[in-house]
């Protein structure tokens, strides 16, 4: 659509701008302020320069947490995107099954994060949980509380359980928008199942997939509540993701400078990665056309 150039449109954006400025810019400035200052209490601050940033970038704790975050995001993106596409392809298109599937699949999305944590905490426990008990009966020494591998598997399973539906819903929306004529043409050309997927369905899902991947990356990279409730970051530090570490640093240890510096680095990483995803995916789309 060709848009008209009109700077008065700014007035329509103003309410959003004011609101976001209040809830994002002011708090962010506070963070920037803390990150370059040091204090001995009594609200007396002095300039500390890049000291906090150096400290953060030199600390193993920060890099370890970031590594865990990256590994987690990579794993769940692989599982959720491929599983989501697969399920969306097999969804019913017509009849009573559609609303039933949609409502049941959307259900996990609307459960508060800490309740998701609680559900899986209860579900996985070896004494009272269905999953834990079943695995124990099968002779598998499963215990997410003190085995790091099991803790990771449980968290990944929980995230897949929680968020795959988002990918499914978005892909499904992309699929139902494909006109029947496309499939008829493919049929006449004798296209294989794979070719139909590769050249009709995948390009049509391209836009929604971009959104799904962006949303899932951002949210998995800032995951806090679910692992906090499920494992509390343990055993040891094996499931301490960056958010958990940050809250520990800021509110637990009240180490404002370091926490602020970490916040900024953390935020910049998400921003950079999202920007890369966004550009790569949009360029990929335009090349095809």
């Amino acid at each position: 659509m060709n848009k008209t150039w009109n700077n008065k449109a700014w007035f329509m954006v103003l309410p959003v701008l004011a609101l976001v400025a209040f809830s994002a810019v002011i708090p962010l400035m506070t963070v920037v302020n803390y990150s370059v200052q040091d204090t001995f209490g009594n609200n007396v601050f002095f300039w500390a320069g890049t000291e906090w940033f150096q400290e953060i970038l030199d600390s193993d704790r920060f890099w370890a947490a970031m590594g865990r975050n990256l590994a987690f995001s990579a794993i769940i993106l692989c599982i959720e995107v491929s599983l989501g596409i697969f399920i969306a392809l097999n969804m019913p298109r017509k009849g009573w099954g559609v609303p039933v599937c949609l409502v049941l699949m959307a259900l996990p999305l609307l459960i508060p994060f800490n309740v998701v944590g609680t559900i899986w905490q209860v579900f996985g426990r070896i004494d009272i949980g269905l999953l834990g008990r079943t695995l124990a009966e099968l002779g598998i020494a499963y215990n997410y509380v003190n085995n790091p591998v099991h803790a990771w598997v449980t968290i990944i399973l929980m995230d897949v359980w929680h968020w795959t539906s988002l990918v499914v819903l978005l892909c499904y929306a992309g699929l139902v928008s494909i006109p029947d004529a496309y499939y008829q043409a493919a049929k006449i050309d004798g296209a294989s199942r794979w070719a139909v997927f590769r050249y009709i369905q995948l390009p049509k899902m391209h836009r929604v997939l971009l959104i799904a991947i962006l949303l899932r990356f951002m949210d998995s990279f800032m995951i806090y509540t679910e692992p906090f409730v499920l494992t509390g970051g343990g055993p040891g530090n094996t499931t301490t993701f960056m958010s958990i570490d940050l809250v520990k640093l800021a509110i637990g240890e009240f180490n404002l400078g370091e926490a602020a510096a970490m916040s900024i680095v953390y935020f910049l990483i998400i921003l950079l990665m999202s920007w890369v995803f966004y550009t790569v995916m949009t360029n990929y789309g335009t090349e095809k056309r």
Partner: protein
């Protein structure tokens, strides 16, 4: 004048009708039916229903376990292992509905979630219109900057929010949480609505102006009905992300506006894990979400597709 206005509405209808008619003509009814059967055979095997069924089963199992637990007594939960309650009890739900510290949590949550949804969608509507219809100085940068707020980890904002809202004396009020959640909901609402609005042809706006509609009247009378499903989807997402968020909601509240999710984490640690009540509280947090999904179920599939979200 009156005739002119009705002609705009008729034209708006006409354009959408023309499109559907064109689509119907192109395919032809018989051919469409043929295509349907072809697609069934071509792209879906006979056991296609197995995949969604297994997936839904996987989704429902943990929820079923929670519901199952909520009807058991604590002794039954801890001593015996059974797939369904042996002596079902409503005691856990009774505790929640009689204790104000429990049920007020639900009321608080619903108040701030509704406030947030209303604020987010109403400020996002004009902004999304501006982004979908006009080019203006710095529009693309502004759009990306708005999206960056969706990427901001709540953990980064917990402490500064606390200080900011303390300064304004807003701590422990519903509006504080509602405003804080605007941080990620407003950008999302703008993003979704912009997609829907771009799908509405610009000729409709122009016809309305020629027919003498003022902008607000056009927006409410003609434009809003056309993007109703978009508003539905945006409201759904705002509701969802505000309802499930805990970190900010917990940081900004102490007692008067404490959300149910925070009540759960605190009461649990205080009373030494009352599993039954915890499960019942969890089940009750699922219900509002389930209701909202049920009401927007038709918009979810149709809405996403229309808006090319």
């Amino acid at each position: 004048m009156a005739a002119g206005k009705s002609s705009t509405a008729a034209r708006a209808d006409g354009i959408t009708m023309q499109r559907t008619e064109a689509a119907a003509d192109a395919a032809g009814k018989a051919e469409a039916a043929l295509g349907q059967t072809m697609r069934r055979r071509g792209t879906q095997s006979r056991f296609w229903w197995l995949v969604p069924t297994l997936y839904i089963l996987f989704l429902m199992l943990p929820i079923y376990w929670l519901i199952n637990m909520s009807f058991k007594t604590n002794t039954e939960i801890l001593s015996t292992f059974s797939l369904w309650p042996q002596n079902p009890t409503l005691r856990n739900y009774g505790v929640i509905f009689t204790d104000p510290s429990w049920y007020s949590g639900y009321i608080n949550s619903i108040i701030y979630v509704v406030m947030n949804t209303v604020i987010s969608v109403s400020v996002a509507l004009p902004a999304a219109y501006a982004f979908s219809r006009y080019r203006f100085l710095g529009d693309k940068h502004l759009f990306f900057w708005l999206l960056t707020n969706r990427m901001a980890p709540p953990a980064v904002f917990a402490l500064p929010f606390f200080q900011l809202y303390s300064a304004f004396g807003l701590i422990d009020t519903h509006i504080a949480v509602a405003l804080a959640h605007c941080l990620f909901n407003v950008p999302l609402a703008v993003w979704i609505l912009e997609g829907f609005m771009s799908g509405v042809p610009k000729e409709i706006d122009e016809t309305a102006y020629i027919d003498g509609y003022s902008f607000p009247r056009f927006f409410v009378k003609i434009f809003m009905p056309l993007i109703a499903s978009g508003v539905g989807v945006a409201a759904f997402f705002c509701f969802m992300f505000s309802w499930v968020e805990l970190l900010l909601a917990r940081t900004l509240t102490t007692t008067a506006a404490k959300p149910i999710a925070a009540t759960m984490t605190r009461t649990v640690s205080a009373s030494g894990l009352d599993w039954g009540v915890l499960a019942a509280a969890g089940v009750l947090t699922i219900i509002p979400g389930a209701l909202v999904i049920w009401f927007v179920r038709n918009y979810i599939a149709k809405g996403f597709a229309l808006g090319r979200v």
